[in-house]
Amino acid sequence: MQVKENFEPVIVAFCCNWCSYAGADLSGTNRLNYPTNVKIIRVPCSCRVNPMFILRAFQKGADGVIICGCHPGDCHYTSGNYFTRRRITLLYSMLDFLGIERNRTRLEWVSAAEGAKFAATMQQFTEDVKALGPNRRLEDLRCRKQ
């Protein structure tokens, strides 16, 4: 596939309010740089992320989706991130079946104290998605902005 030189992927990040969103804030407070491609949506818990939201993002032209939650065992709601882990595992197998690159979707645990990890994760994920090129398989062309 021909990858344009200046391909800037659209990346949607779902961050749980208690750990990862706070981790993202911490990376901001510490002025830790990560690409502007990443746009964060705040959700109460990673288990609020319906796999439908992820598919919706791909349909609307996102090139990568990352879900961040508290580390297993540290969920503010006790068990929410365990549900996320299972749901995303199932979503992976469906995306595999559809032939969508595994690296476009990612689940990562980032605690409120891990600002550096958040920035590094976003940096890495953006590079991975850039390497994959634009999402053409799942994007619905009818949704594309004219």
Partner: protein
């Protein structure tokens, strides 16, 4: 038709330096539904809020978007401002263009572009916001303090003083914690026991304080104002209500070869024991790992000598359940295990001790009755070497990356006390830096150097080797003189790093509070909310939050108490209205949501529905108890029919955000 107001904050130069705020306000002004779009220097200031309030009134706004710092910072500020202008506070959305945009990006063009997208996302969401009303939930007027060290005791005393009942849960047979083991305190050289034990007695005599010693927290349920805690009272095989603490059993017990934890294993105690003379509660405890009666069924001496008949070999662990409005965590610290530090020969030579062991060696209630003697041959040491930062400020896997904060000061104290009591002893201190920020701290350290002639040498100790003549060879470098040193020492004292207590991690899981990578509890805000955890109703006291000396611990303990009292004073608290709700017409009663709910907030009710043909039909549908629901949203994803939704984070709102980002 929606009438949305957008307000872009400069935050001084914090945002304005990397984001063209005027361009953001201009671009968002063209978004559908936006009737007013303004920028201002400091939106959170009095005049900034006034701007928002006036716009709400004049423009009859139905939604507000603030492009500013993180919602974790000022969401409440703007919600309150909106409420005072007559707009439902939940019609306010924040676009985080500081922490998640201006502070992390340097290029103005791309940062501005991102800020516009973030603003547009918030506008898309606010279009679908609905007014939400908070419910009230009652507050149980009782507090739980986990940990009975100086932090826990101080917190409990302060809460009791304010007129609320407090329970202290302590895992050891007595309260007192680490401070009870310390000989003297810096920088005043007060006797630790003399200032701690009156507080312990005060706690035990206060009728509002209940001490559950030798107990652990087994389970925590519920939420702020209404926690249900299960406390495990471990079997001590002695009836607490009958034991008078006379100590006869401990004298008569034939099993006397048990390492004494209170003296850091430097001497022995009996299998039935009272940790120390001033223990509170002063009740004997049988150690089941060593008691002959419990192990083999042959002995029973203690029960024969006990005139109160308090010994009960058949005692079992018991559980009690109690409701609490607030929980204060005061689990404290421990010195790290030095097994991995072979270079300091800690496990090979009994004369290499940790600082806490030295405290016991110098304490009048310690193994040598207060005379400093070498543990190996009980002779008086003439040369003592102190090694600083053992495991602190360490980059490798063995140690801790942080400064343990208290070691510089207690080492100065030890050095001074030794020189004071035994002027014939030479004392060397090897340090990386001497850190003495605190009231009268630097003066104290200088006294050790100038008045007491303690040899402070900047440099690290490379190797400690026990020699055959009983002496210890300390090989070190003097960085300032740039030379290698060999010191023929009699004792070596290691200032071991401190780490959070091991019970803190499982406790954090039970309390659903956050911890940092070193297992210290994370505070809600590092500067402005230092004694609250991010989980409402859980407060932090003492060294469980980070390394602290005694004055700081006491200050934080009282601060945590003040916060807990503030909560307990209220008769009810407003609940988060962002809770799940079920569309009864779509719900098919499958129980998927009920199974994933961690709080048991979902029940099923049989409800009568009117059918199109004018008959009625009874159907089983989900019903959410909004007082119990915490709003995690697990049920919304589990629901196969899409009947479950979460207020404030509804499916349509998140979809709208996704669409706005991808547009």
């Amino acid at each position: 038709m929606q009438r949305i107001g957008v307000f872009v904050c400069h935050c001084g130069t914090n945002i304005a330096a990397t984001v063209d705020v005027k361009a953001v306000a201009e671009a968002l002004g063209h978004e559908p539904g936006v009737v007013i779009s303004q920028d201002y220097q400091y939106m959170c200031s009095e005049s900034g809020q006034e701007l928002v309030k006036n716009a709400i009134k004049e423009q009859k706004l139905t939604g507000v978007v603030i492009c500013s710092c993180s919602p974790r910072m000022h969401e409440n500020t703007f919600r309150k401002a909106a409420a005072s202008a007559g707009l439902n506070p939940y019609l306010v959305e924040i676009a985080n263009i500081r922490e998640q945009c201006s502070w992390i990006h340097k290029d103005i063009a791309t940062a501005t572009e991102k800020a516009i997208i973030l603003g547009r996302t918030a506008v898309a969401k606010v279009h679908l916001n609905t007014p939400l009303n908070s419910m009230e939930s009652p507050v149980v007027k009782r507090a739980l303090v986990i940990g009975g060290g100086i932090a826990g005791i101080q917190t409990a005393l302060d809460i009791a003083e304010a007129g609320f009942d407090v329970d202290i849960v302590e895992k050891q047979p007595t309260i007192g914690g680490k401070m009870a083991q310390i000989d003297k305190t810096f920088p005043t050289l007060d006797c630790a026991a003399c200032i701690l034990t009156p507080k312990m007695v005060e706690a035990s005599q206060n009728e509002r304080i209940t001490i559950h010693s030798f107990s652990e927290v087994a389970d925590v349920k519920g939420f702020v104002g209404n926690f249900t805690v299960k406390i495990k009272k471990k079997a001590r095989f002695v009836d607490e209500t009958k034991c008078t603490g006379c100590g006869l059993c401990t004298e008569k017990c034939p099993m006397k070869k048990v390492p004494n934890e209170f003296n850091m294993g430097l001497d022995n105690r009996s299998a039935i024991y009272i940790p120390f003379a001033q223990a509170v509660p002063k009740v004997a405890t049988i150690d089941p790992n060593y008691c002959m009666m419990l192990k083999t069924g042959k002995c029973g001496v203690c029960s024969k000598v006990c005139s109160a008949g308090a010994i009960d070999y058949k005692q079992q662990d018991t559980f009690i359940e109690q409701q609490y409005g607030a929980i204060v965590v005061a689990t404290g610290f421990n010195p790290i295990n030095l097994d991995k530090y072979d270079e300091f020969a800690y496990n090979q030579c009994p004369d290499v001790v940790t600082s806490l062991e030295l405290e016991r060696l110098m304490n009048a209630a310690g193994p040598n009755g207060g005379t400093l003697l070498r543990p190996s041959d009980k002779t008086h040491p003439h040369t003592i070497v102190f090694v600083q930062c053992v495991g602190s400020r360490c980059d490798d896997e063995k140690g801790k990356p942080y400064c343990s904060k208290i070691c510089c000061m207690y080492t100065a104290k030890h050095a001074m006390l030794i020189r004071e009591k035994y002027p014939d002893t030479e004392v060397y201190v090897f340090y990386i830096d001497v850190r003495t920020p605190g009231k009268n701290f630097d003066e104290f350290y200088r006294r050790a150097v100038e008045q007491y002639n303690v040899h402070y040498i900047k440099g690290m100790v490379g190797k400690v080797t026990p020699k055959s003549d009983g002496k210890i060879d300390v090989q070190a470098s003097d960085l300032l003189a740039n030379e290698q040193l060999h010191i023929n020492a009699d004792m070596v004292v290691l200032a071991a790093a401190i780490e959070p207590d091991k019970t803190a991690r499982p406790l954090a899981t039970m309390l659903t509070t956050q911890m940092d990578t070193n297992d210290f509890f994370t505070e809600a805000h590092p500067k402005l909310r230092p004694v609250e955890s991010a989980t409402a109703g859980i407060f932090l006291s003492g060294a469980c939050q980070g390394p602290k000396d005694i004055p700081e611990t006491v200050a934080q303990a009282s601060a945590a108490a003040a916060k807990a009292i503030g909560l307990l004073c209220k008769n009810s608290i407003t609940c988060n209205p962002c809770v799940a709700h079920s569309d009864e017409l779509m719900c098919n009663g499958c129980s998927s949501c009920e199974k994933v709910c961690p709080y048991g907030a979902i029940t099923y009710i049989d409800k009568e529905f009117r059918m199109p043909d004018r008959t009625t039909k009874v159907r089983r549908v989900a019903s959410v108890n909004p007082a119990v629901c915490q709003g995690c949203g697990a049920c919304t994803v589990a629901c196969p029919s899409g009947a479950m939704d979460l207020s404030g984070f509804s499916n349509s709102q998140i979809m709208a955000e996704v669409d706005a980002i991808c547009k």
